[in-house]
Assembly symmetry: C2
Homo-oligomer: 313 residues x 2
Amino acid sequence: MNESFKNKAPRIVAIGGGTGLSVLLRGLKQHTRRITAVIGVADDGGSSGRLRREMGIIPPGDFRNCIVALSDEDSLLKELFQYRFPEGSELQGHSFGNLFIAAMTDVTNSFEDALTESSRILSVTGRVVPATIENINLSVELADGQFIKGESNVKESSSEIKELFIDPPDAEASPTAIKAISNADLIVIGPGSLYTSILPVLMVGGIVDAIAESKGLKYYICNVATEIGETQHFNVVRHIEVLERYLGSEILDMIIANDNITDIGEQFHGEAVDPSTGSTKHIIATSDLLDEEHKVRHDSGKLAKFIMENYLG
Amino acid sequence: MNESFKNKAPRIVAIGGGTGLSVLLRGLKQHTRRITAVIGVADDGGSSGRLRREMGIIPPGDFRNCIVALSDEDSLLKELFQYRFPEGSELQGHSFGNLFIAAMTDVTNSFEDALTESSRILSVTGRVVPATIENINLSVELADGQFIKGESNVKESSSEIKELFIDPPDAEASPTAIKAISNADLIVIGPGSLYTSILPVLMVGGIVDAIAESKGLKYYICNVATEIGETQHFNVVRHIEVLERYLGSEILDMIIANDNITDIGEQFHGEAVDPSTGSTKHIIATSDLLDEEHKVRHDSGKLAKFIMENYLG
């Protein structure tokens, strides 16, 4: 990679959470150092959920994964960050990186400072920032009238989601997130779980306004596969429709979607998201973006390259 | 400190464990970079004991304290290493540095490699090595005939200790420890708990022979205060007598003892160790070595300076 190019490279804000966001970041860091990941804070499962409940901190798991994805460090420390304590200990299932961020949060008395310090130690390209520093809980109303509380429960809901709520409903965006969005040359929304990773960021007070007012281009990266409990049977157009209920319909400049449609395999409980059905006013740029080994994921390299090709025009 | 002096400075091996050893190391690193701390592995209490039992690793606490004592890093990472998780979480009482060493041990599959990596990350002067990589359990026979098992229990024994045992009795020294002792210009034994920190190192197969055969000078640093359950009412001479039952009587070149005898205060449950009573063939070099704030401890600076003055002679 050309270093001078990297310094003139676009300021990119990536919005979301979960595996999708870290896949994207791993690819993007090959093209620019000026990356800010704006990450949702509604996770309540696993090691993150335990730390959240017991220590009152923002769930660190998605932040940890993004720090690792953006880390230049090719060392044991990076491996250590992803280490999980084994069965049979009271630490069972805890990710070491989560404990690192939790302890650092207590020492610095600030979740954002803890992320900055952890990023420094792992030689991170760019930054990871929380959408808000308030602890958010998700709930949904399903099409069948049921209400479900908590991110991990939502992921297992049986009927289509009608409405998403965050609690507190008036949670405000972190100033760092707003500033990064305002100054971005390119805002990339997704990939990631629509209801549990992406929309919880957009619903935080100030985020959508900042996106709308930013001069940066706005791309939505549609998932390559549907997710049970969230986007079952969704095509690309249906993803956009749901997204725009929260984002507004005049904001997106481009949709990026995978067109390598294959049989995902039963073990993944999902199906390929089709960009060729349905109708929309939006420009949908398609390419083969599939990770051939994990057919529910984007390939980092293909995705980042295609985003940059479209951005650079 | 003069850098050229530091490079010609003596190779010092410090033997023991617990607070005493880390106090010594904090002082010594001002005089030489060539320090190897050889640390006992019989700890079974607190966070270390939990990790030892649940993950089968060598108890990391004493190693963590010595790494921090030898760390040049004046950063949050050092503070983080000493952080303890708060009450109310399942992590309660665990030291973050212990979890760091435990996870690194699992990732590298070697306790010694984990110490090397942790030391590198914390910019440690010198090295910390375990006396043995076997997991050692202590037991004692008391003067009243009772047998007590486990380091934490020994520390609470009510009667004088008659005999100390390690299990397995034939545990062998780590080659790294033996090599450091063989190449030392100065071997410093103590300060530290006599029965639970110092003797468990000396009882490991190969350690005493290596000390005896090393051309380095051998100093014993006597504790400034007695310890209930271990050395109640001991004067300096009594400390030496017990030590030499395990070390042999022809080995020590010098004893270093504090002569600032004060009232320690009831809260510490100990009394000042007197160098002026009893008789011994040994040279006892005395000086005011007391930490005025913690009167059961040596002052790092005074102790290291006095050791170096005697060594440089």
